[in-house]
């Protein structure tokens, strides 16, 4: 039995969380669940952080956190809780597998199996912005050597553990010679410690172009925070849909698991949403807490459903799908 914290979030969050939990239970996951409230309701009740002190304590105590998407209200000095959580819990590594499921999910890139390892605390996400003059605003991009070392080492260790052949690094160090230059330099330093794993570096512009055009040329890709944000959405979408990708946010102490997509408020409450992203997050979680057999069972059941053509609206395709289903029906299948 592992105690975990969950938050159902906003928009489609509650539906996909219920679907995910029902699947985990059916597969025999041994979980004890502490539910906390985060996101829109908490914000609008006057807490600009979107989370209470008590909830932080619960998360820290249980160490494992499964989080549905949340909505940050526009304007008014609200901070993104996603980002705060990553920083507050020291979740320095964001792992985003992007795999195509050809021929069961429509894709132009049938052989794609990438893992993006995204630095998760630094870069422009440090949130240091200010108005310099009436007409000029600035944001600070911050890169530290320990930050680079942790994430680059994580990427190589990950590649080693899962028998991946190559780690690629994306930066824009022809322009940002000090910041991105440091990331690239640390990459080169650590790469030599893993002679059995191939390594390469691409300037992000042409690297992104290659990724969008020939994703089969990549394996593990490590990069600074903002590039990782954009590239993981690109990779997940061209593999099939951002709706299919989950992510693990890993720190020394705690870990948070989530879908990579947002809370899609316009789709909420209609039993439309695809729970696959959060479910993939949950599979990563089960592996993380050592319930690997259950993880495999869930993943196989999910694959079988996808292969049977039982698809939610977002991946439904007349040529491939056999049945268009809602969130609940998908979970039952």
């Amino acid at each position: 039995m592992t105690k975990i914290t969950i938050a159902k979030g906003d928009g489609i969050g509650p539906e996909i969380m219920d679907a995910t939990l029902s699947i985990l239970t059916a597969a025999g996951a041994k979980l004890e669940i502490d539910e906390i409230e985060v996101g829109e309701k908490v914000y609008l009740a006057g807490n600009t952080a979107g989370i209470s002190k008590e909830s932080w304590e619960v998360i820290r105590k249980n160490k494992v956190f499964l989080k549905a998407p949340i909505t940050t209200p526009q304007g008014g000095g609200y901070k993104s809780l996603n980002v705060t959580t990553r920083k507050f819990l020291g979740l320095y590594s964001n792992i985003r597998p992007c795999t195509s499921f050809h021929p069961f999910v429509k894709t132009k890139h049938p052989v794609m199996d990438i893992v993006i390892v995204r630095e998760n605390e630094e870069d422009l996400y440090a949130g240091i912005e200010h108005q310099q003059t009436d007409e000029v605003v600035q944001c600070l991009k911050l890169i530290s050597r320990p930050g680079c070392e942790k994430i680059v080492r994580y990427a190589f260790e990950f590649a080693k553990k899962y028998n991946r052949k190559k780690v690629t690094c994306f930066t824009k160090d022809n322009i940002m010679k000090q910041t991105d230059g440091l990331f690239h330099k640390v990459f080169d330093e650590i790469a030599v410690e893993y002679p059995e794993i191939e390594n390469e570096h691409w300037i992000i512009d042409i690297g992104a172009a290659k990724l969008a055009d020939t994703p089969e040329a990549f394996d593990v890709i490590v990069m600074p925070n903002l590039y990782g944000d954009v590239m993981s959405d690109v990779a997940a979408q061209i593999a099939g849909s951002v709706g299919l990708a989950g992510s693990a946010n890993i720190g020394e102490e705690c870990a948070m698991f989530e879908a990579i997509h947002g809370s899609a408020p316009r789709r909420a409450g209609q039993n439309l949403a695809n729970p696959s992203g959060l479910l993939q997050g949950a599979v990563l979680m089960l592996n993380h807490i050592g319930q690997t057999k259950v993880a495999e069972k869930v993943q196989n059941a999910w694959l079988k459903t996808i292969e049977d053509g039982i698809h939610t609206y977002d991946i439904y395709n007349e040529e491939i799908s056999t049945k268009k289903v809602g969130t609940k029906e998908f979970a039952e299948a």
Copy 2:
């Protein structure tokens, strides 16, 4: 007769410039040419700017500059001449058309006709970086209201002039609320002045994912400098090849035209390179200086060659191409 400045640059630069100039001459372009030396040789002769004072004067006097790719030496405090030129001449707008030429050039995206309008002076390209402590480095992202206004207005005026239906804006203003927030705000302000043109905004992560997956959903896209750098390579590559795209860098006084790809030193001197990118830059230049008939003639001849399947190695494809040719043969065709 229009006097222009040219620079043959490094790597494949001289070959593709010679090819481009021979095509322009054959098409009857009325150009008087001032050639200057920029790039590697100038750098290595001890000028860290990669260009002499006299050359700047020539560029400023002639106002129109056709530039082949250059190589910036690694390390040693060299600054990117591309970036310096854009800033020095106030070339605030970087226009990058990305069109697919299905069925003549292989692409997974047959109906794609996008123009990326990239802000060209600000953002992380301001080049303000410093080492804060032994282990922490920073780079400043700088966004100004006049900068945003100029580029957003340019995008809408461009759409109006060329009968484009929609202008899309990409930012990451859910994280960078002040900097990217300003860009988005100015976009919204200016958009209302063009009620006949549709407008929309996407967060860059999901926007990039859509662009890579369904580029046919976009028309004109305006964005800050770094996003524009990455997204234009993505768009050009999935349309067919970064080797086919040219760009116009436009300021109040001067304008520079170039290919969007680099100097590919490994391909240099082998009569291999595809001159199409620089040629497309030259077509934009001819239109800019009012030689629109010649521009049309060059563009039609280029299209005919591509349609006839006479392709350089980079776009050569057994199913489509009829003849694999070198730089010179392509230009002759």
